[in-house]
């Protein structure tokens, strides 16, 4: 019998909580309140709580969260925002879409922003640093915040992959002036559709975000700024409230799966597993190994029934869309090298020990050859 281990398994997650989910959807139907309202407020309250911040504002997607964050900070044309080139394209897109110029700095071995390279990227036009906690691992926030403070720049955190991740005992989303989360179906806390949420400790910013996500309305009839609609559907908020009571357990299971890989793949030749610093808690949205013969390894695992993914094979500065930004091959050597070496192994909570053993064995078997 052939083994088949998919890269993601949302169905597995939902099978266990199906009746809870349908009950939550039923509750929204009974209320007839499909836009904002109680479910969304309750979700925001609890989300702020788990991030250790005062306020959370739920929006239509993680991308919208980033766009609205920059807009709320008044960032626009003629401004520059610094970010990394090894993320999902949305963390650069948001900068371009508000009219600002994305400026990249390279990453370190942990796939996160290299704080040592920040200073060189700052110009008189720089307004903000958009830090990405890629793979669910917190970026090295202390030196980043130090630079930002010295140069009077905003720090916006892209926490799309990092709900519950911690740096020196503090949750991500609580370091910058705003944190932006995605609730996309493939994220560790996931809606059954698109969704996003912003976190902040700044009351005035929070009020601005709520106006911006709701076509600029301060009340039913008064519009104070032109804007679009970007609200988390109440149905999705209800679904997320169900999942929030499970997300700790799910996250711990992910971390346990990651720890298993780290142990069993630690000494494999030609393979590098991610390691955790004592002061950080990574939540392993993705478990990304680096392999000398990545493409062959991927092919081999596929032939063994193990589906893997690459996050991401084309660095953003080498995308067709980035042509106008003036970068090219060689601009960011660490990112470019990683793009050729990285491979994401399945790490979701529903994997069984048999699955994990099978995957680890297959990886070891390939690397022995």
């Amino acid at each position: 019998m052939s083994v088949k281990i998919p890269y993601v398994n949302i169905g597995g997650q939902h099978a266990a909580i199906k009746s809870e989910l349908l009950e939550a959807v039923g509750r929204v139907i009974d209320s007839g309140q499909f836009v904002l309202g109680e479910e969304v407020s309750e979700f925001e309250r609890r989300f702020a709580q788990i991030c250790g911040v005062r306020f959370a504002a739920a929006v239509n997607s993680g991308t919208d969260a980033l766009i609205l964050a920059l807009r709320a900070l008044g960032i626009g044309s003629c401004d520059e925002v610094i970010t990394v080139p090894n993320s999902f394209v949305a963390s650069t897109t948001c900068i371009a879409l508000v009219g600002a110029k994305p400026v990249f700095v390279d990453v370190r071995e942990d796939c996160n922003m290299d704080p040592a390279k920040l200073e060189d990227a700052i110009t008189s036009r720089t307004k903000a640093i958009l830090v990405v906690h890629l793979t669910g691992r917190p970026a090295d926030m202390d030196p980043i915040i130090e630079v930002a403070k010295a140069r009077k720049l905003h720090v916006v955190e892209d926490c799309a992959q990092a709900v519950l991740a911690e740096y020196k005992g503090k949750r991500v989303g609580s370091f910058g002036v705003i944190g932006c989360f995605s609730l996309h179906p493939l994220k560790t806390l996931n809606a059954c559709g698109d969704g996003g949420v912003l976190t902040t400790n700044d009351g005035a910013l929070y009020e601005r975000l709520k106006v911006l996500r709701n076509v600029g309305l301060r009340s039913r009839d008064e519009c104070v700024v032109w804007s679009s609609h970007s609200r988390l559907d109440s149905v999705q908020a209800a679904i997320l409230l169900v999942k929030m009571s499970h997300v700790n357990v799910w996250t711990e299971k992910r971390c346990a799966n990651a720890a298993f890989y780290q142990r069993s793949l630690a000494d494999v030749r030609g393979l590098q597993v991610p390691t955790d610093q004592p002061f950080e808690k990574a939540v392993y949205h993705t478990f990304v190994v680096q392999a000398d013969r990545r493409d062959e390894l991927k092919e081999y695992l596929t032939s063994q029934g193990v589906e893997t993914a690459i996050h991401y094979p084309v660095p953003i500065h080498l995308q067709e869309v980035a042509v106008g930004l003036g970068y090219g091959p060689g601009s960011f050597p660490v990112t470019e090298r990683q793009a050729r070496r990285i491979l994401s192994l399945p790490v979701y909570p529903e994997l069984t020990q048999t699955d994990l053993d099978y995957i680890a064995d297959a990886v070891r078997e390939f690397c022995r050859r």
Binding site: L21, V25, S61, D64, V89, E222, H229, V314
Partner: protein
């Protein structure tokens, strides 16, 4: 008797069927794009008699995405009317363009006779709004747009199913934008929108633009948005679209009943001009009323949920300050903001509820 404005609690006579569909979807885990959305898009296109329909996150996003794929941006001007929900303007401003207003005519739609005076060398597009479910004078607007080489994006957010001489809204402009917001004639259970177009190139571009500009999983060729109609909402839409003809007919017949009865109160109530050939779908049933605010209170005391769409005209909103408009610039829209009242006309109202509403309006003026 209670006459409510919203009817969402009435949509669920057969809630199990919807939940069954949702359960099926949850099993698949297929929550973005995918089959159910494609089916909904196909059926929506059919309703509009157009080749392409693309589901997006909201009606506002539909407008913004349309303008952006047409290349509208900073230093451009886009003409619309102050007789609309503010989102029309929010969408224009989000592209970086400057909104320019043209007053409305008696039926709450843009007045084509005032259009040419607003066109400048920077004008890039016209966004006529089929406000309330009425149809703007599209043949006239298209003639002017072609003469000046301007794009036309129809804001049909309130007008699904409306037509002019049998031609459905959405079939004139480069694109047309619809809202599926819970209070719309065809709704889903959250925010949602649809763009229709007859251009395969625009359809392709919009599909890219709503999905991060990705041509495949890994390659982005433009900086795009994330603006997709949730698959879960498409599942709901696929059921509700079957009721859509019934909904439209019910609303039209409710509106006719109001028109007939209220025309007898012509010294107090002014019914907007019903242009021949227009199939008005009455997302909002709006008339102009003497002593509007008193009437509103009178009705509300009698449990009739009337509303005002809207008491502040768009060009006089605080957000519009930088545009430099002032009171007196758009007399029709301004007068409307002082006199309009919206009576409940949705498909779930019983005849007695409409008659009761009419009776209460009558008693307010005649007793």
């Amino acid at each position: 008797m209670r006459v409510s404005f919203s009817y969402l609690d009435r949509q669920f006579a057969d809630v199990d069927a919807y939940l069954g569909d949702i359960e099926e979807l949850v099993k698949t885990g297929d929550f973005t794009l995918g089959k159910s959305l494609e089916e909904f898009e196909r059926r929506f296109a059919q309703v509009c008699k157009m080749p392409y329909a693309i589901g997006v996150a909201s009606g506002t996003d539909a407008l913004m995405l349309s303008l952006k794929v047409l290349g509208v941006g900073p230093s451009d001007e886009v003409i619309t009317t102050p007789a609309t929900f503010i989102a029309t303007v929010g969408a224009i401003v989000n592209t970086g363009a400057r909104p320019v207003f043209v007053d409305s005519e008696d039926g709450f739609v843009i007045d084509p006779s005032k259009l040419e005076a607003a066109i400048t060398s920077r004008t890039k597009a016209i966004v006529p709004v089929h406000y309330t479910g009425n149809v703007a004078d599209m043949p006239e607007i298209m003639t002017i747009a072609r003469r000046h080489s301007l794009f036309v994006v129809e804001d049909a957010c309130q007008a699904i199913g409306a037509s002019l001489n049998g031609q459905p809204v959405g079939s004139w402009g480069e694109t047309a934008c619809f809202s599926l917001h819970p209070l719309k004639n065809l709704n889903v259970w959250g925010d949602g929108g649809v763009i229709v177009t007859r251009s395969p190139e625009l359809a392709e571009k919009i599909r890219l633009y709503r999905n991060h500009g990705l041509i495949n999983r890994d390659e982005a060729i433009m900086f795009g948005h994330n603006s997709r109609l949730d698959t879960l909402q498409a599942v709901i839409g696929n059921r509700l679209i079957e009721q859509f003809e019934f909904i439209t007919k019910q609303r039209i017949s409710n509106a006719r009943r109001y028109d007939e009865a209220l025309s007898e109160l012509s010294s107090f109530i002014r019914i907007p001009r019903r242009r021949p050939g227009v199939r008005h779908v009455y997302h909002l049933y709006i008339v102009r009323a003497e002593r509007r605010d008193e009437l509103l209170t009178h009705l509300s005391r009698r449990s009739i949920e009337a509303k005002v769409h809207y008491p502040i005209p768009v060009h006089l909103q605080k957000a519009a300050t930088y545009l430099g408009y002032k009171e007196g610039d758009f007399p029709v829209s301004e007068e409307d903001s002082r006199t309009v009242i919206t009576l409940p006309a949705h498909q779930h109202l019983a005849q007695e509820q409409i008659d009761y509403t009419i009776e209460q309006v009558r008693s307010f003026y005649l007793k």
